[in-house]
């Protein structure tokens, strides 16, 4: 018999309101479920990328001076001399900009001067000769800065030439594709060209907020003295971070009357903060989806219960006519399956529509059809579970209802 004349469908056609509403709800839930799952998965993948840093044992502290005659160079040198001899410290360096935070600078980088060719916006990280060691980032090619190469420009003697730089592998690839970047000249901002002397394994620098270009960083050999503040980056031996941080803060605060330790960051906290937006989005979307799913189940459960109550007599009649208990359960599951299928078809179109909109407006990747498949499976399963209890209840209606109720 053709499906169009199946008694299940004719019965549904005669009382469509509840089923149509539930189908709409299922469709909307599916669309949200699928897109939320895609966004959350994407966010999780993003948060799961390696930072390339020893986040557990590294911290940074900002030291600022309140007096006019503050000499960043001598103050930071004194701090470093102290830190490098402090038990538990593996390496320490003076930098400007803290990895994994939005505290720091950026620069444009190009193979040609700024006005003559394409540029990449990259994190700009001034370090001294111990910078890489402190970051615990190995070189994959070339060499590190030497102590003699660290420039100390001052307000009185500015020095826009940089000369030599180290770049991350990601930035090197972005600039030179598969050709070797080592020894090549690049232009930072509007300055004279600099030569790449080293390429490091990828790590996340400051300012890029864990975005798509988080690994693009250029390191320059410089101690920045024109601000009345500097950042100390300290990596400790495993597990010593808390002790060292407390001790260092106490010492530096006490050593110089004018120096105050501003904020301190552990890199693990910085990483946590960096992804707070993504994490909140993921939590919110998961929660929203869960609520929608629960509401969907409640709707299905409600409609099922309504059907049991309003069809008690009909079910008794069916039992009298020879339906087994499991036939009654099947009746409810089949009817629910029809509703869910209709909702799922609607939901697939809606999901693809929302996905398309997100792609054009938010630049998200196209919705992978796998999400739809899994989403439909999840909804099919949960909706059948939701109607299970009413179906069991219906199956318990005794056949004598057919003769006992008028």
């Amino acid at each position: 018999m053709a499906l169009t004349s199946h008694p299940l469908l004719s019965a549904l056609r005669r009382n469509p309101t509840g089923a149509v509403l539930i189908a709409l709800q299922i469709g909307i839930t599916l669309a949200i479920l699928v897109n939320a799952a895609a966004i959350v998965t994407h966010a999780l993948q993003k948060m799961d990328r390696p930072t390339g840093l020893d986040t557990r044992d590294t911290f940074a502290m900002e030291v600022a001076d309140l007096s006019r005659q503050f000499n960043v160079y001598s103050a930071s040198s004194a701090d470093l001399a102290y830190l490098r001899h402090l038990p538990g410290v593996a390496a320490a360096s003076v930098i400007v900009g803290i990895p994994l935070t939005d505290d720091g600078g950026t620069t444009t980088v190009g193979r040609l001067p700024e006005s003559q060719g394409p540029t990449i916006t990259s994190a700009y990280l001034p370090v001294d000769q111990q910078g890489l060691r402190t970051l615990d980032v190995p070189l994959v090619a070339g060499r590190d800065f030497r102590a003699s190469e660290i420039r100390v420009p001052t307000v009185a003697h500015p020095d826009p030439r940089i000369g030599i730089v180290i770049v991350t592998q990601a930035l090197a690839n972005a600039l030179f594709a598969h050709r070797s970047a080592l020894g090549q000249s690049i232009y930072l901002g509007g300055r004279t060209p600099s030569t790449i002397i080293g390429i490091t394994r990828n790590f996340m620098g400051p300012q890029l907020g864990g975005g798509e270009h988080a690994y693009d960083t250029v390191l320059v050999p410089e101690i920045v003295t024109q601000y009345a503040a500097y950042d100390l980056l300290v990596r400790t031996q495993p597990g010593k971070r808390a002790v060292v941080l407390r001790e260092a803060k106490r010492h530096i605060d006490a050593a110089d009357q004018n120096a105050v330790v501003g904020y301190t960051w552990t890199l693990s906290h910085a990483k946590y903060r960096m992804y707070s937006g993504l994490r909140n989005l993921a939590v919110f979307l998961s929660f929203l989806t869960l609520v929608m799913l629960v509401l969907c189940c409640l709707g299905i459960f409600g409609l099922g219960t309504f059907n049991v109550v309003t069809r008690t007599r009909q079910i008794g009649i069916r039992r009298a006519l020879g339906a087994r208990r499991r036939d009654i359960v099947t009746l409810f599951l089949a009817e629910n399956a029809i509703t869910v299928s209709a909702g799922a078809i609607f939901g697939c179109f809606l999901a693809l529509g929302i996905g398309q909109w997100l792609t054009t407006h938010d630049g998200l990747a196209r919705l992978d059809p796998w999400y739809l498949l899994v989403g439909v499976a999840v909804l099919a399963l949960t909706s059948q579970l939701a109607v299970w209890q009413p179906a069991r209840r219906a199956a318990r209606i005794p056949p004598a209802v057919a003769t006992r109720t008028i």
Partner: protein, 243 residues
């Protein structure tokens, strides 16, 4: 066809026990047409429910078509209801969402019959009750008499050995009631055993045998009226005479 010995059925609620059937014994031969009457609350419906395997009983023995009913599983009871018994109820009990065709189809589907056979059987039984032209009507679009005929078509479509009818004319005027009675007689004449519960003495008189139930007991059995017996034909005739 139907043998009940000392059946008792007790309804228990928190406060009271109702002995709806007590030491109830009755034999109905295959092909017989019996009418059951009795005052309201005497246990007629209870008897029909027990006979039709809609309810269980507390003690006694019941054999239907030679098969002992006691202790059968719910599934087995469903199967017997489906294959051997046709029900006709006072309030017709058609499923309101389904048209007449689909209503008659319900027990056939539960039997797992092929579509072609179901269609043929539905057509036959609707023709027998004179509703061939109404098969795509909903129950609500039919008169009471037509609805009861549709219910009879549903009861006989599966070719049951036993028809149980609980006051099938109770909601109908006398003309329609007689039509229903004619139909039940016609079905009986084709060999199906019919047990009819009725208040109406005139209708009861048309049965071969009248059973009177009072207070859950068979009070007396009135022998068959001669007219009905002479009309009877078919293989069941000889057996029914034994009672």
């Amino acid at each position: 066809m139907l043998e009940m010995h000392n059946i008792s059925k007790i309804y228990r609620t928190d406060l009271i026990e109702t002995h709806a059937l007590r030491e109830f014994s009755l034999q109905v031969a295959a092909g017989e047409f019996i009418a059951v009457s009795g005052p309201s609350g005497s246990g007629k419906t209870t008897f029909l429910n027990v006979a039709g395997l809609l309810e269980t009983f507390d003690s006694g023995t019941y054999k239907l078509d030679g098969q002992d009913i006691r202790g059968l599983s719910d599934n087995a009871r469903s199967r017997i209801r489906n294959e051997k018994i046709g029900f006709v109820f006072q309030s017709f009990n058609l499923i309101p969402d389904l048209d007449i065709f689909d209503n008659v189809d319900v027990p056939l589907r539960y039997r797992g019959m092929k579509a072609a056979e179901r269609t043929a059987r539905i057509a036959n039984s609707l023709e027998l009750v004179g509703l061939s032209s109404r098969m795509r009507h909903l129950p609500a679009q039919l008169s009471g008499g037509q609805q009861q005929r549709a219910a009879i078509a549903r009861a006989i479509a599966g070719d049951p050995a036993l028809i149980l009818a609980d006051e099938p004319t109770g909601n109908l005027d006398s003309l329609m009631a007689r039509q229903i009675m004619d139909l039940l007689e016609k079905i009986n004449s084709m060999g199906t055993t019919v047990v009819l519960v009725t208040h109406d003495p005139e209708l009861a008189r048309r049965a071969e045998r009248n059973i009177h139930i009072i207070d859950g007991l068979v009070a007396d059995t009135v022998p068959a009226s001669g007219a009905r017996r002479r009309e009877r034909q078919g293989p069941a005739h000889a057996e029914s005479a034994t009672d």
